[in-house]
Symmetry: C2
Subunit: 173 residues, 2 copies
């Protein structure tokens, strides 16, 4: 069994999801949540909060691997700067705990969860609930974070099945 942390970073909300993937590929929900920032006196304090809270979540749940969405572009340079800093803080929290971060494009995440790269948000949220057996509506950022964790679980197990050595695979991403 391997515990996987999925992160959907944002400058205002960072979605976090933790799942277990069994040696047979079975997935189990462990935890999810969304870290809402804002109200901190300075932007560095916002980044500190993302960093500290993610370190605490990692400490509490002990994931062995982590996955985050690869961001290609943002609306504009200003929002890209804010999103970039939040993402940098999230990645640093994970790597500071000695965990490798894997990146997936949004289309790869949708492909893994819904079976098509062009699924919309509602479809993804619905499928996450089905796959992990969750009842009731899922907060969107937490659903995205769980989706990223599931995408990583699928990719790593399909790669393990075809027998590519783990180190080569890590180097390739």
């Amino acid at each position: 069994m391997t515990r996987i942390l999925g992160i959907d970073p944002g400058s205002q909300r960072t979605g976090v999801g933790v799942i277990d993937v069994g040696d047979n590929g079975a997935l189990a929900h462990v935890w999810h949540g969304a870290l809402v920032i804002g109200g901190e006196a300075t932007f560095p304090l916002r980044l500190k909060r993302i960093f500290d809270e993610l370190c605490a979540i990692i400490g509490a749940h002990g994931p062995a691997e982590a996955a985050i969405e690869r961001v290609f572009m943002a609306r504009n340079a200003d929002s890209a700067l804010k999103l970039g800093q939040a993402r940098g803080a999230a990645v640093c929290a994970v790597v500071s705990q000695g965990i490798v971060v894997h990146e997936y494009a949004a289309t790869e995440v949708k492909q893994a969860v819904v079976g098509t790269g062009r699924a919309d948000k509602a479809q993804v949220q619905h499928m996450i609930g089905m796959i992990l057996g969750l009842k009731g509506p899922l907060q969107a950022d937490a659903a995205d974070a769980l989706a990223i964790a599931i995408a990583h679980a699928h990719t790593r197990s399909s790669i393990e099945r075809v027998g590519i050595p783990r180190t080569a695979w890590r180097r390739r991403r």
Copy 2:
């Protein structure tokens, strides 16, 4: 005496400068350098390198306070995302060591070092060398990092002279 760390973050080069400011306001050069990243297999590994190297520099020099340039905008959304992540990693390295990060606009830095907010890079580099008594040309990113540290040294000492309590001052930034 207070030791100050200045950081000029970038997605490819991060300038770092360390200075001491005496109780009489006198400045002394301690260390400077530029961390050149690139060649790492993944972008998260780049961020890890910024984070780890800055933590090591902080461990080696033990600054009590830190300052970083406030970034308002970038050339485009793509470069803003990369710069933002590098800046996020740099800020997290500092705050993870329990050090408060102060932000200064580029015009504030130039005002503090050259006396005008509209100075060019060559003027800033020249003045840094004069102020800190450095011989020979200074690498541009390291000069910018030293300039940010000097701007913080000036601001904190002028604020201390007019007697604003330190906590209020920190909250204001």
